[in-house]
């Protein structure tokens, strides 16, 4: 298995920062806000490797920094320090050294993102098909008929009724909106997909079918994914390996079954023990 992403020392702080920020925050201090200067240490020294076709789970409660990690990798946010190497075939790209234009190119061509809030991932002013068309047009497809066929196929694959492809996703249910988001993210067949709490807030039965879909896609397209969630069930179902985060730090990393059956950190043990 080839590496697709290597993240090292990824740190994101919000605030002016002071020399004591790092030593005064984290799980041991039960906070991610520096008591000396008020800076929020959203993530500190996060490191992991991701291999082709692998699903990595990042688990933690809100404020643990799990979303911050994917936001910086998808260029929604700038990291304070750290590096992320993206292996694209023979090419290796230092993600945080790229200029904004190069970053946008990678985002549009090589990455996909599915947000918890469909507002962020979808344009409600255009139809479901138009949302997918936009991503195909970014990739220089210029044939209306082809674009429509691809959009129809993608929506069919994510089980969105094709007779609704010309409706605005505004009128869709939450589960359907997530399906359109997934179809849109997959339009360019990206080798790397970020999923940020994609099933949070959905009905259980809808959640289950979306998770099935994600797994099927991962098997069909061999897409590497980073799945951010607070839900142990999602982790159990999707992720081969898992990082557990708390107050901006990775407190535990390992094979998902090991994290669930033999958690090492007190926090993870509590989390697993309290799961339904």
């Amino acid at each position: 298995m080839k590496k697709i992403l290597e993240v090292r020392g990824l740190t994101k702080i919000y605030g002016s920062g002071c020399p004591r920020c790092i030593s005064a925050t984290g799980p041991a201090h039960d906070t991610n806000v520096c008591p000396h200067c008020g800076t929020v240490v959203a993530a500190h020294d996060v490191a992991f490797d991701l291999h082709e076709g692998e699903i990595l789970g990042i688990m933690g409660e809100s404020g643990s920094g799990k979303s911050t990690v994917v936001k910086t990798l998808f260029f929604d946010d700038k990291p304070s320090s750290g590096s992320a190497r993206f292996h694209d075939g023979e090419q290796v790209q230092e993600l945080f050294d790229l200029n904004p234009a190069e970053q946008r190119w990678l985002r549009n061509h090589k990455f996909g993102m599915v947000y918890q809030n469909p507002n962020l991932g979808l344009n409600f002013n255009v139809s479901a098909g138009g949302n997918i068309a936009e991503r195909l047009l970014m990739n220089d497809l210029r044939h209306y008929g082809d674009i429509r066929d691809r959009a129809r196929q993608l929506l069919a694959r994510t089980e969105v009724l094709s007779n609704r492809m010309d409706e605005s996703p505004k009128r869709f249910s939450g589960g359907m909106q997530q399906r359109v988001q997934i179809a849109k993210a997959l339009a360019t067949r990206p080798p790397l997909l970020f999923l940020d709490e994609v099933t949070t807030g959905l009905d259980l039965s809808v959640q289950a079918r979306i998770l099935d879909l994600i797994l099927e896609i991962q098997q069909e397209l061999n897409t590497a994914m980073i799945v951010v969630t607070h839900d142990l069930g999602v982790i159990r179902l999707l992720a081969g390996r898992t990082l557990v985060m708390k107050y901006g730090r990775v407190i535990e990393a390992g094979l998902t079954d090991q994290i669930l059956e033999d958690p090492q950190h007190a926090y993870t043990q509590r989390l697993v023990a309290s799961a339904l």
Partner: protein, 301 residues
């Protein structure tokens, strides 16, 4: 403006072309930059003119910066030399540019200022077409932030504009943009070609004349240099189409006045509820009439 109006004596020594030389120089620099980067919206310090924004102050400043005493100016609005706005602008320029002559004949003009039309008669290398622009940025319909629009222009990312065309075809089976049709210049920047109809867009392509666009309120100048590609955005399988003037029987409608079947027509509703079609370009229509009656003389044949 009253045609008999004369400047008061203490204002009679206004600079040629109303604008001071520094202002003109700044505008000329912006023009040069616009020609060098075809389709790029060059910012400039749009001056206050003695008329409201939206009445063509952007085009006017371009005209005043370009005009010399030996220039011949034609001003049209909706294809017509006689509309109020065209008349006012023409008189203002003649008043402030002593020596400059005005004309209604396209072929006689060295500078043509227009808002809605490109004249039917093909332009030549010695002519400059100045278009008044209300909204210079074609991306404004899909992206409210100017900073992001600039990045999109820089990267040539017009996917969202194309998505709008896609949506149009989905909803109406064709692209419904009637004017201000987004057009890609020299393979990179997409411009909003002022409120000209789709019909006129092909005239921008490889035109021998220089076309300048001035947006007074938005403080932008851009250009389609002579002999430059201007390609309307479209899909490979849904090509760009101009307005077609065919009736129910599939016959090309002719101008009710001159009988031309090769011009852009205006629809005129009549009192009895019927409608009538007539050339939008009044100079062209007059020429056709004269050609018919054999009274057309000289160079305009």
């Amino acid at each position: 403006m009253n045609s008999s109006y004369e400047l008061p004596l203490d204002e009679a020594d206004y600079n040629f072309g109303f604008l001071d030389e520094y202002a003109k120089r700044e505008i000329r620099r912006a023009i040069l930059k616009s020609i060098c980067i075809p389709g790029y919206q060059t910012p400039y310090a749009s001056r206050e003119m003695p008329m409201g924004r939206g009445f063509g102050t952007g085009g006017l400043q371009l005209t005043l910066s370009l005009a010399g005493p030996d220039d011949v100016l034609k001003v049209i609005d909706q294809g017509s030399d006689d509309s109020v706005n065209a008349v006012n602008l023409r008189q203002f320029v003649s008043l402030t540019c002593p020596g400059l002559t005005t004309t209604t004949h396209t072929s006689d003009a060295t500078i043509i200022q227009s808002r809605h039309r490109i004249p039917e008669q093909p332009l030549n290398e010695s002519q400059v077409l100045v278009l008044q622009v209300p909204y210079p940025d074609a991306l404004v319909v899909v992206e409210p932030s100017e900073a992001r629009r600039k990045a999109m222009h820089g990267e040539g990312d017009y996917s969202r504009l194309l998505t709008k065309l896609y949506e149009d075809i989905v909803k109406f089976r064709e692209i419904t943009i009637s004017h201000r049709y987004p057009t890609r210049i020299n393979g990179h920047y997409v411009i909003d070609p002022s409120p000209i109809p789709r019909y006129d867009v092909p005239q921008l392509n490889q035109s021998p004349a220089l076309t300048l666009f001035g947006a007074g309120r938005e403080k932008k100048i851009y250009a389609v240099p002579p002999y430059t590609n201007a390609t309307p955005l479209a899909f490979d399988d849904v090509p760009f189409r101009t307005e077609d003037f065919h009736d129910d029987r599939g016959e090309r409608i002719a101008c009710a006045r001159c009988g031309s079947t090769r011009s852009f027509l205006d629809e005129l509703p009549l009192a009895d509820g019927s409608k009538r079609w007539q050339c939008s370009d009044t100079d062209y229509c007059d020429q056709q009439l004269q050609l018919k009656s054999g009274t057309l003389t000289g160079a305009r044949q």
